[in-house]
């Protein structure tokens, strides 16, 4: 007899499936304020435990506590709340517009609003994000015109991308928002390249790369960490762990590493894990990483622990792969409600003002939508020209594309 039995393959499974009771007992949540705030020039080896903990500022009572608290004024927090509410209202309207056939496709941020909205406020004008499709808060929090986003969602005659790009794959150099690809992970290493360029030119601007938990499995994630580590690029490498990659739970991409943040440790990149539903914590951590980058200390890896409350996109139904009530059981709560509570505790906000703001914001979104719709939606009204298909493949149209355009009748 051989001393070894036959091999078997391990395929990870989430703790629960549809019909089961939601269970997040595996998500270890430290008390708010319990994680120390190291100096930005700390040796990465000295803060290895931060890759396994969760930096939190807001406690259950709505108070901001601990070393990461105290960075934002009432006014800044109210602005943050407004941005998150705006993004949520925007999503609600656009989701409905998709159901009404005004666009082909939509992806919402429900539950993840704090991540991109708070992060943007830690950057400066001129810094560059390389986002995925679930960071529209970067635009909202930088006051990018909502109506331009809608023009693209509706692929109408004022679509900034002239109908060539998918609805939510925005671009805005002016607002530090690199054109979204739609392919996963490619932008992560590009962010490192942009940051390297800024360092090559002795500039002061920094870059931020974005990736989801699922796509950290792509080889570009590894390339990005190697290049960022080797050249000490002034880049913030963000992982938004919203627990789900379409229908695949995060354990399939994470494997045995414990956390996604821990992936940075092997590269000598300081890695932080943060409560992604805590606006104050996201902002504090982003600012820490931005300061490191600006001081030429190199990259930081940040894992935002959050939960994708909605579907991946308008093309899937989460009830087919996870319990319907799972989002209610998510232990880190709702980012809008948590910041609202904090502002009320601070005495800067009230239920009445919140209800009023909600109505005003929805009205603002509806007005923008009316304006956008007056320029057309996907199947009605003004639309981009067929000529636009052929423009912009190259700076100058080569003869073969010109011939094809003429063949198409334009």
């Amino acid at each position: 007899m051989d001393e070894f039995s036959r091999l078997s393959l391990h395929v990870p499974e989430p703790a629960v499936r549809p019909g089961d009771q939601p269970d997040f007992s595996n998500v270890k949540i430290p008390k708010a304020g319990s994680v120390p705030r190291p100096e930005v020039d700390v040796e990465p080896e000295a803060i290895r435990d931060l890759a396994y903990s969760i930096i939190r500022v807001l406690n259950r009572e709505g108070e901001a506590v601990g070393a990461w608290a105290g960075l934002l004024s009432d006014e800044e927090l109210l602005t943050g709340l407004r941005h998150m509410m705006l993004l949520r209202a925007f999503d609600a309207r656009m989701l409905m517009a998709q159901r009404q056939g005004k666009t082909s496709f939509y992806m919402q941020h429900l539950g993840e609003e704090a991540v991109s909205c708070a992060f943007r406020r830690a950057l400066r004008k001129g810094d560059m994000n390389f986002p995925t499709y679930r960071q529209a808060g970067l635009l909202i929090a930088d006051d990018y015109p909502m109506v331009d986003m809608m023009n693209q969602i509706f692929s109408n005659e004022l679509d900034p991308c002239h109908g060539r790009q998918l609805p939510v794959m925005y671009t805005s150099k002016e607002h530090g928002f690199f054109t979204i690809s739609g392919n996963l992970a490619t932008q992560y290493v590009q962010a490192v390249g942009w940051a390297m360029a800024s360092a090559i030119k002795n500039d002061t601007r920094i870059a931020a790369g974005w990736i989801g938990d699922g796509s950290t499995a792509e080889s570009d994630f590894h390339s990005a960490l190697v290049f960022a580590s080797t050249y000490k690029a002034p880049v913030i490498l963000n992982i938004v762990n919203n627990q789900w990659a379409i229908s695949t739970f995060q354990g399939i991409a994470r494997g045995g590493s414990g956390t996604f943040a821990a992936r940075g440790l092997g590269f000598g990149i300081p890695a932080l894990r943060v409560d992604g539903n805590d606006y104050l914590a996201v902002y504090a951590v982003a600012r820490w990483a931005a300061e490191r980058a600006r001081r030429n200390l190199g990259p930081t890896l940040i894992e935002y622990v959050t939960y994708r409350v909605g579907a991946h996109s308008t093309s899937d139904d989460p009830s087919a792969y996870r319990p319907k009530t799972e989002s209610e059981a998510w232990p880190l709560g709702d980012p809008v409600l948590r910041l609202k509570k904090h502002l009320i505790v601070r005495g800067a906000w009230s239920e009445e003002r919140h209800a009023q703001a909600e109505a005003e914001i929805m009205d603002q979104v509806i007005q923008a939508q009316k304006e956008a719709e007056s320029h057309g939606t996907l199947h009605a009204g003004g639309r981009p020209s067929v000529r636009d298909i052929f423009e912009g493949v190259y700076a100058e149209m080569p003869p073969h594309i010109r011939r094809q355009r003429q063949k198409a009748g334009y």
């Binding site: 590009q190 490192v192 800024s198 090559i200 590894h222």
Partner: protein, 337 residues
């Protein structure tokens, strides 16, 4: 004027471009201190400093991916993939990203990068150092694809590529690095110093992308070739005594269709030659264009001479490489049809 090998010409193009434009940066595997495995970047780090010419990790997707990010910032990266055979990990970045950034963002962002890569066989490199993947690039709208056949063109075209506002794939036939190889592997190599196209101006000059060059005027049959095969075709014409007109495409995308149509319109016969494999190769595109535009002038079927549809073998290299004998037979066949 100086006599340069193709390696020196390519190096001179980068040197001139880096000297003229501080936004030009050069990097890749072994490219910095050592100067590249083919020595194309030798001396550039010493001259321009290690933030403008440096070694990269062995990660082609990382090299091209970071180059795309640098281009988005405003730099003009000219990166090296050590062998064209190693470009596949970067293919996603090239096809889905570099090629489409201008289009998908309506020009909000652009991607002026150059990706240099030694291509083709003839050096006993076997299946992983001999490939000619140009058709995998010409199939991608948004890329430009260049294959020079001599030092003069290599320098002028590389300068144009670096100055181009869009991503350019620059495939350097490695068998031509040191001399105009005509496929007669048994003979000693003629160095570029003994060839008129080894005469290269030391300063700046640009050759427009998208213009072919007629290397040999003739009236009997048109040969469409690029890279190493230009020299093989010249030898085949010489040896068969057939008065072939030999077109060196230089740029595959965009393509100089006018020169092709004019020539085939005149000769009525056409042979297409490339080192890459036959099926779905760039030759298929050329043949289709010739029949679309010259059908009524054609007096014979268009013939393709290419690498066989197998991986590139090692020991049987010279039975695989489309040498002058095979090209010569095709010329004869085209004349006899």
């Amino acid at each position: 004027m100086a006599r340069m090998t193709m390696i020196e010409a390519v190096r001179s193009a980068m040197d001139v471009s880096m000297g003229r434009d501080e936004d030009v940066v050069v990097f890749g595997e072994d490219v910095g201190y050592f100067g590249g495995v083919f020595r194309c970047t030798q001396g550039l780090q010493a001259k321009y400093g290690k933030t403008r010419c440096f070694d990269a990790p062995i990660s082609e997707s990382g090299i091209v991916g970071t180059a795309i990010g640098m281009a988005a910032y405003g730099l003009k990266p000219c990166v090296e993939i050590q062998f064209a055979d190693y470009m596949y990990p970067a293919y996603d970045q090239l096809t889905q990203e570099a090629a489409r950034i201008r289009y998908r963002s309506n020009g909000d962002f652009t991607c002026p990068i150059v990706v240099r890569m030694p291509t083709g066989g003839g050096i006993f490199g076997g299946q992983t150092h001999s490939q000619s993947p140009e058709a995998l690039f010409t199939h991608v709208c948004g890329l430009k694809v260049i294959v020079p056949s001599n030092p003069y063109d290599a320098k002028g075209l590389l300068i144009s590529a670096i100055e181009d506002p869009d991503p350019v794939m620059f495939l350097e036939p490695k068998r031509l690095y040191n001399g105009p190889f005509d496929g007669h592997h048994e003979r000693p190599v003629t160095p570029w110093s003994k060839h008129e196209l080894g005469d290269v101006p030391e300063g700046h000059y640009a050759i427009p992308i998208g213009k072919a060059e007629i290397r040999r005027k003739g009236s009997a049959v048109t040969v469409i070739a690029y890279g190493t095969m230009v020299h093989v075709a010249l030898a085949a014409a010489e040896e068969t005594g057939i008065d072939a007109e030999i077109i060196d495409l230089r740029s595959l995308l965009p393509l100089d269709l006018e020169t092709i149509v004019q020539s085939v319109g005149k000769t009525g016969r056409c042979v297409v030659v490339h080192e890459a494999t036959l099926t779905s190769g760039f030759g298929g595109e050329l043949v289709a264009l010739v029949q679309e535009h010259c059908f009524y002038q054609l007096e014979a079927p268009v013939i393709r001479v290419t690498g066989w549809d197998t991986p590139y073998p090692h020991a049987q290299e010279w039975d695989y490489f489309p040498g002058p004998a095979r090209v010569g037979r095709a010329l004869t066949e085209a004349m006899e049809a």
